[in-house]
Symmetry: C2
Subunit: 261 residues, 2 copies
DNA sequence: TAAATGTTGTTATAACTACAACAACAAGAT
DNA sequence: ATCTTGTTGTTGTAGTTATAACAACATTTA
């Protein structure tokens, strides 16, 4: 009687991303729970149809996750997960390395059709992708960076890049709160967000994300800081940049005024 | 005109193991070759059907591999491969870690049905799995190890384990050739393979792999050293063990004789 | 013989692949 | 202005492959 689903859905999902199928994952898990088993026992423990167990076990042998006995009926045993998973992962890592090398080569040699890509406004999804882009833009900045942003946005990576850059270029930051070490050579204006300048209704929304101005030339606007629903726009488009510089100037004036309260 | 297949099959295969589909890989590669492109241009560069390009680009955005412009027509650009691939890989690594933790927990708590698994003869496929098993068996050995094996079999891992163990237990090795540092505390008999004892026809075949005897209790026999077609048998079965101990004794007698040539 | 094992098929389902067709839109021509 | 023409983005519909699920049969073991 095929029993005990036991809910390994989480682990199965993880194993799938390592290239296993659902059945392969279930059988492997089942084998880890005992010291050894026949095909039929595996079927009972894992819930995988008995007839499907055989081909699946072949796959797992090929992937070096199980060993087989000579006996009749054959008995199967799982190799320790440290080795099994380690094996799978190192294969993938190897592939990733190869891909990265090959693709980086392609990326460096890429043709630049003489289009004015800089007039475009680009979208970026996902908070990690956004943070990485910020670090990248920061690395190419030559004169100054001006920032209005929610503190959540400043990952360790970004803070490190900022601290590093602050030695060479001007860094100006407006934020409702600054965590961590005192901002050495940077100008950081800490202003509570509740009442940003009058008349700018959408200003508060903006503050939920951030505005980054690099060299007065490239602007990145981030909206939404939820887990993965963050969106960023960035552009070198003149109009786009001008709009946000003006916006920034407005805020900085207000920020520089001494707190009246 | 969709052109230039350009044979990225290798890279595509690598990217597939990172969880991308063929189309996703092709589109990503295509985007890396230019600074930006419209859906139609991507179709032309990559050879992916134009209608398929749109959903594929959505997938890639979700995987944080490309960014999109606001313009009409939309333009797409690839994020640098170091970041893109790095992202994918770190996700997988995270999953692998979680899986390994969960599975190790299961593995430790596994039920031991009181069966005599030790009477079975087990098969193991793949040279890396075999080498790892050897290291594992070595770790649990308490008195002595006796080995007849082809030098190819001794990976760095195994040599290290042997050198380490040699301080506590007796290690005896017969091999036609010994590479690397002189075998400190181990007894190594180097004997050319060509004419092993008389009358044992299959002996030569055996020497193409190896025989490991752990504590006179567990025996592992390896046959075939090809890339991935290596097979090992191991067992604690009394008959199996006795057979190979007798075989070993035969060889060791011959090996200890001074070279007559 | 009966039960369990191992093998071989067939079917279903889902995902990926591939292509055809359509509406919306813009640019240019008459 | 209207009518082409071509492009873009969307939708739908098959073909293909891999996985999933089950049924049936031959073989072994007791």
């Amino acid at each position: 009687m095929p029993a005990a689903p036991d809910d390994f859905t989480q682990i199965v999902a993880c194993l799938k991303s390592l290239g296993l199928t659902k059945y392969e994952a279930l059988v492997y898990i089942a084998l880890l729970r005992v010291t050894g088993a026949t095909a039929t026992e595996i079927h009972e423990i894992s819930g995988v149809p008995r007839a499907s167990v055989y081909p699946v076990l072949e796959q797992l042998q090929a992937k070096e996750l199980v060993s087989v006995s000579q006996s009749s009926p054959k008995r199967f045993a799982a190799l320790p997960p440290e080795e099994g998973i380690g094996n799978l992962l190192s294969c993938i890592q190897q592939n990733a390395l190869r891909a990265q090398e090959d693709l980086s080569a392609i990326y460096e040699e890429r043709l630049s059709p003489e289009r004015e890509e800089q007039e475009l406004i680009w979208n970026l999804y996902g908070i990690t992708a956004i943070r990485k882009k910020i670090v990248e833009l920061l690395a190419h900045t030559e004169r100054d960076v001006r920032i209005i942003a929610h503190p959540q946005l400043f990952s360790e990576d970004i803070k490190r890049a900022l601290n590093h850059k602050a030695h060479h270029i001007a860094v100006e930051i407006i934020t409702p709160q600054w965590d961590g070490e005192p901002p050495g050579t940077m100008n950081v204006y800490v202003k509570k967000t509740p009442e940003i300048p009058k008349g700018l209704d959408r200003a508060k929304d903006m503050m939920a994300g951030g505005v980054f101005i690099f060299d007065n030339r490239t602007v990145m606007v981030i909206v939404g800081l939820g887990k993965e629903d963050a969106v960023a726009l960035y552009s070198e488009s003149a109009g786009f940049v001008r709009f946000f510089i003006r916006y920034y100037d407005l805020i900085i004036d207000w920020a520089k005024k001494p707190d009246l309260k």
